[in-house]
Symmetry: C2
Subunit: 119 residues, 2 copies
DNA sequence: CAGTATCCGGTTTGATACTG
DNA sequence: CAGTATCAAACCGGATACTG
């Protein structure tokens, strides 16, 4: 029951605890493009081809793969619209919207970082 | 000057703008382990071997590689302590500490996510 | 202790061509 | 339009052995 030992253990537990939580989060949103896609859909729902244009650098293969995973994890909904030819609209679920704060936090930091290194 | 056009362009610009910012951020903190390492060092500075224990699953090779990159980007400081044998202490820079909010946000979401899927 | 060097299989990713 | 199939290249990352 020595105080220092208890404190250290306390910190280490918080640390491991957080790492586990981070790991859980990154399992879902940790891909190379997922945060970007979610961020996009935060502003408005979009079609496949729109996302392809908006998410700079992503290939079609990667986009459909990442979308599939996001859908599987119930962060987005895929809606097929019966036009000719068909179009597909992607939108965040309400669960996906719980990531809004997270994506904004990352974007904020990235913006400040760019300011810092580019000046 | 039609209103709808202006609005749409505005949204798209915000979208691309955010994606660029996210991309900038992920360049720095997007590795498999970086957020976890930073989260760890948020609580206290640590030695190499302590990090190896705390960051579950990481290998020595990956840890030193990630630490090198974090140091290069001035998020952490590596301090060699002249014991016998030498020990090395890693700590966040004040710039690295600007990531505190971000890591907590991710950990929070991950925690809630675990609650959701495990119940 | 705190790493580095090497080997090597597995995964990720891009380019391109193709489909309904 | 919204994808899928296939191949090849690049990268990731573990195990092991080694160094100062």
């Amino acid at each position: 029951m020595e105080k220092k030992t208890v404190t250290t253990k306390g910190i280490n537990n918080v640390c491991k605890h957080n790492i586990r939580a981070i790991h859980d989060a990154l399992d879902i949103i940790g891909g190379k493009w997922k945060i970007s896609i979610i961020s996009c859909l935060t502003f408005q729902s979009m079609r496949y081809s729109e996302l392809l244009r908006e998410v700079e650098g992503i290939s079609g293969k990667m986009l459909s793969r990442e979308l599939k995973e996001l859908e599987f994890n119930q962060l987005i909904i895929r809606e097929v619209i019966d036009t000719q030819p068909i179009t597909v609209q992607y939108q965040l679920t309400s669960y996906g919207e719980t990531l809004k704060h997270l994506t904004l936090t990352i974007a904020d930091w990235g913006l400040n970082h760019r300011k810092k290194i580019i000046g």
